[in-house]
Symmetry: D2
Subunit: 441 residues, 4 copies
Amino acid sequence: MPSNGHKQLKIAVIGGGSTYTPELIEGFLARRDELPVGEVWLMDLPEAEEKLRIVAGLAERMSARCGRPFAVIQTTDRRAALDGADFVITQMRVGQLAARIRDERIPLSHGVIGQETTGPGGFANALRTIPVVLAICRDLAELAPEAWLINFANPSGLVTEAVTRYTKVKVVGLCNVPLNMQAGLAKAFGVDPAEIYVEFVGCNHLVWANRVFCRGVEVTERAIELTAEDPALNMKNIPHRTWSRDFLLSLGAIPCGYHRYYYLTKEILAELLEAEAAGRPTRGEVVREVEAELLRLYQDPGLDHKPEALAKRGGALYSEAAVRLISSLHHDRRDIQCVDTTNRGALADLLPEAVVEVNCVITAQGPQPIAVGHLRPQLRGLLQQVKAYEELTVEAAVTGDRGLALQALAAHPLVPSISVARALLADLLGANRDFLPQFKI
Amino acid sequence: MPSNGHKQLKIAVIGGGSTYTPELIEGFLARRDELPVGEVWLMDLPEAEEKLRIVAGLAERMSARCGRPFAVIQTTDRRAALDGADFVITQMRVGQLAARIRDERIPLSHGVIGQETTGPGGFANALRTIPVVLAICRDLAELAPEAWLINFANPSGLVTEAVTRYTKVKVVGLCNVPLNMQAGLAKAFGVDPAEIYVEFVGCNHLVWANRVFCRGVEVTERAIELTAEDPALNMKNIPHRTWSRDFLLSLGAIPCGYHRYYYLTKEILAELLEAEAAGRPTRGEVVREVEAELLRLYQDPGLDHKPEALAKRGGALYSEAAVRLISSLHHDRRDIQCVDTTNRGALADLLPEAVVEVNCVITAQGPQPIAVGHLRPQLRGLLQQVKAYEELTVEAAVTGDRGLALQALAAHPLVPSISVARALLADLLGANRDFLPQFKI
Amino acid sequence: MPSNGHKQLKIAVIGGGSTYTPELIEGFLARRDELPVGEVWLMDLPEAEEKLRIVAGLAERMSARCGRPFAVIQTTDRRAALDGADFVITQMRVGQLAARIRDERIPLSHGVIGQETTGPGGFANALRTIPVVLAICRDLAELAPEAWLINFANPSGLVTEAVTRYTKVKVVGLCNVPLNMQAGLAKAFGVDPAEIYVEFVGCNHLVWANRVFCRGVEVTERAIELTAEDPALNMKNIPHRTWSRDFLLSLGAIPCGYHRYYYLTKEILAELLEAEAAGRPTRGEVVREVEAELLRLYQDPGLDHKPEALAKRGGALYSEAAVRLISSLHHDRRDIQCVDTTNRGALADLLPEAVVEVNCVITAQGPQPIAVGHLRPQLRGLLQQVKAYEELTVEAAVTGDRGLALQALAAHPLVPSISVARALLADLLGANRDFLPQFKI
Amino acid sequence: MPSNGHKQLKIAVIGGGSTYTPELIEGFLARRDELPVGEVWLMDLPEAEEKLRIVAGLAERMSARCGRPFAVIQTTDRRAALDGADFVITQMRVGQLAARIRDERIPLSHGVIGQETTGPGGFANALRTIPVVLAICRDLAELAPEAWLINFANPSGLVTEAVTRYTKVKVVGLCNVPLNMQAGLAKAFGVDPAEIYVEFVGCNHLVWANRVFCRGVEVTERAIELTAEDPALNMKNIPHRTWSRDFLLSLGAIPCGYHRYYYLTKEILAELLEAEAAGRPTRGEVVREVEAELLRLYQDPGLDHKPEALAKRGGALYSEAAVRLISSLHHDRRDIQCVDTTNRGALADLLPEAVVEVNCVITAQGPQPIAVGHLRPQLRGLLQQVKAYEELTVEAAVTGDRGLALQALAAHPLVPSISVARALLADLLGANRDFLPQFKI
């Protein structure tokens, strides 16, 4: 008889030296009765070894404080981490924060919003990250063919799509945006998050709450009103602006925070340019400070729990998203979670093979997307355009074809002309030269 | 704040005089802690009043035995039953068993399998039943616009599709076949039914177990082997024959019992013709005997529970299917059940507006189908052909267009030529004249 | 036996006072042996009667010079013009050139390119024009139900889509852009236009040459090279800029002139703003001068042919497009022309009911689009986004729903934020108040 | 500058010893002014060398009589025939007429209609023919990569689909059925065939006239009436039966002759069984006699034209179909012909990669299908089911997978049960053992 129940799980975290890791550790500890984690391998690059040592130390103390339900192993040997893993979490940033800051700065120097996930900054990040994740997949095929790859590496949707198109690895892309939207709506309605059901449609960092239900009753219009009045959707790393009521009502859906870059391009660009002129730091530079502070805190040998300050980092519900997904995959729980997976017709306006972010039933065989059908034109056009950009970016990242890279940037709604696209591409490829062996520059 | 929790529900059962009703009553009683049913209205036609009296009497005694959690009301006033109902269950047979027996006998006289649900007999049944259900829907729009219509009236998929195409009533079609297949597989694997997950694809009485999982692990091939060896899928009302192992393995899926009519047409037809020649009764005639016996039992004033003999009737898990669905709709439970609902792209090989029988997440807003994508050609062609027949039948039933009715029968895989279709149609329309006012015969 | 051959055709030209009309008259004269036109009715509004008189006078002299093969009738009675017509050509501009100039100026005052067909200016034009064309369609249903409506009224694709969605009138949308692209490519290759075959894909004023063939051999790459070197595609009313070679090669297709607004948004906007600052006229203002000059010329009683100066107006091949189409519809010629018609699956990335601009076989039953399948992502995303904008605009124009109008503008790639969309919408609705009775402003 | 115009073409005819060949030669001669054929290579197997000699002799005399515009070369060396060919016509029958007669006889012995193209007989033929055509394609890739393969080898649609799915060869499937339907309708309307336009939809030997136009006017209903009264569609090799008027009118389309096997299965089966019982020959046996007679005629050294008797063979318009297609491909004529080619969305109810038989614009790049959209359910279901059978058959023929072969036969509408399918498959595989190396029997 098949059974999954009693095995001790091996978790591998690629980019384990991230300051987010304590969040994840806390998640595994919180669910230790439900999820039999035996080992957590924290893997990072040799050049991040010092950081990894600090983070792993805290992780170890956190586990110890709870009676050490699982071992914490630190390593710079990626193959050792992957070997026999049950779940692999990719959360690394190729090029570290320095690359992110370039992803924000370079586009701005061309009069373009950078935005490190959904913007041209995310484009550069995708070019750097996709080859690394595909290399991990090649290792997985050999060392842990049955493992689930839980991808958090940004841009999460793009990276996930690359894995689905070019490998046979079992992959789910994940993001904390949907969970945060649900939590925000629950707060606005004054109920428990479990009492709110949101029909999510879209792709990563371009996801809408298409319909909202509270205790089983559709409340979409009321949710829109509440959102317009008091934006529950603001996130740390997104310049906050309130949606206007008339726009939201005629949209008929609630955008995620990242939609602001598309809906308020002009205002956000002006704000960013002004900040730059004033010498204010980018979000990446702020994060660099936060990280330094966090690492100082983590070094405290007396610290054996996730510090409050981590909240500033912007990853609310990150561990909840990850551990809940792993648990449902492991236990074949068949509950509904919003994740990034292959469309298969769930959104009729995109190709079946595109990766989308929709509600899925999470089974031991992976996410099964719930069919939504066609979207209203208000949502459809933007989603299709961004998805075309994503498809071009994935192809460019895998092939190193400069023409495709140009087409990807030219297709991006934030890039105002192909001349800008060309100049911006040249700069991004130049600045990321060391991370882009696939491009013959 | 929206809330569904504390209201006492009114259930209306159209065709309440059916001998199946005690099954349903038992289901409501078994879930009385979870589902706050306040009234069960049993409605039937004046000509069935005696039968209704007997059945309602037993239902009343069953409720009384459990402390009378709900009232049982019998009526021949359909509007009174529907008025303010929360859930309406349609389980009537238009024309009673006499019509069913004609549905079986008339095709046979043309050398064609009748089959009262998926065969040409079901075609005649659809022509009779669809106008009645649409009339109920018109009443519902006025008397209980928020009610859910749970359709069991056969042919369930066709009737459900007519409701979705021609009304705005909230409807779910239901059948006990998927639950029985799941139960049969559970028995074969020696596990609890909850530990078996079946990916169902198809339409009503033409549903396949496309993939089977046991405790989260795919076991489709083993399930096929077990099915081939010891058919767990046999049903009372279907001549039983074992599928052959080579056929099932190359099919790659497990058919439902009713598939036999398509896969073993020649053998079943020969068997039925032989039975007729030998003067043996049809299934409808057997059921008539069983029903008479059941009604005799139900009259016993000492009987206050569902009698064992009801099992012979063939409706195993009927109450389970109905009450579980109602409970999930009421409580927005979001569990997965296989029901008949609008496709919306879940099966990419059928039109989005077709009614299909697939796994759905059951929410307070109704079933949300889980996307499957394209089917292999082994399943695809037969499903598409039968669905085209169904679409033609729905249109013929609503419009009374004799040409469409001829096309429907001609498109049916069991009808061996258009000459046969024409003669058979003439006989079916003639014999059902009193129930088919939409046809100008 | 059906026959179309010997009837004298009645042509009705709505907006017959346009200075383009001599172009059309010339076309009918040139094909007089092939197309049996009996009457050309030139209809215009009472306020344009003077202009109509001048234009009709020239038309009459042109016909007379060729032996008066058809009568020219001028009228301000629209119903009289439509009554019994075989072909109705709509070429009017609702609000005249004054409205066009506002369509160009108002967006610019918000820092947005106006562009009177494919830009936000065209959006305002669509709001004005669609109700008028739908009113014509209501008349046609009564007065000439078999007539073909040949729509040139801009934005041609949007107007055509409105007619297909909301009426049963037989309509074809038309534009001279594809013919000009073909002619330009023929010139570049040094061959006759008939020797060039272009696979057009897209929608009106957003059409690409997806593949190019010369004498039956695919020459797409060479055509791209030639286009990059020496743009044959420039049009009078579009600021000219040369596409870059690397962009075109990686695009893999040749854009039309109007694509510049999307591909070179930043540069064209800067140019337009600079022109405005310098007090230079908009294209509409230039056209106003050209028109005044043309009308002066047309008044010369000695003039009996199309004057050379009309070429400045920018409508090269306008009559060729119109008369060739009418002739093929009339004679069931089944040749291939690129027109605007219902998709029906020809472009798999758009809804079947969307109006697209693709190669069609022109039969007496109308255009039959040639199937292309899916487009590459380079073309797909932009086309889908613009089509979503168009769908929203059509709905807004028909319903007068201000929310939909806001969504349409917000979805337009040239509008940089919803704040801008809102302010721009307010101005456009205000300035066009007299032409927008459907909006409760 | 590209040019196709002056080259002398090499035509290779695989199965050149067929008695049909003079038909083809006559076609090339009739179009010799338009189509510059330089050489016609007639290739056949060594065991058919005598037949080839006779046929090639006649072909040579026919050419000589017209001034020898092209040379006729006979060969048993397939690679020599293919080397440098411009057009390759495949018209061979693998296993000769003896195999065809088995294809007819064996199914009948199982109580099933054989039908050598669209029935289970055609299934056996596909298993034999597909591997041979794929071998030819491998040679072509090497010896004449730019050649067009014009496939007449039956079952033509299945063979063409195999080539499109498994090779890169440029292929068009062809059949004379559409041309004959058009000719029959022209005769019924008393007009020239060129004045009739038929919208064909379906797949090979399952093609409907979906709409009919006469001189540009839709006359579908009248065409149906005429067909019902006096079937113009009868073919030599199909037992003739008149369609009934009521069936055709509610079908709304005109079936091809081969539809009889599906629409009148019972009657045709009875007729065939009766003929067998009476010792009457099958169609294949009749054809064997006709062929022997033809070969006797062909041997006459005085014969230098196509003999009248060839008409009995049943291939009316065969040469017209082939030569007209070749001429349009060669000259990039862009006229409309009904051929077998990849769907690409033209029929929305089938997969884009399925081979369909629809109207196409014939260009030098091959046929471009005209989009039709969705079909009515009357046509849709049967077409989808037969197409699923075809897909399974192609896969079985290529892989030699016996399970797929069983599924193909079980999916065939003429096979009344899987038990029959299994027994029939065993016999067909056994009897064709020598031609089916791909099956491990």
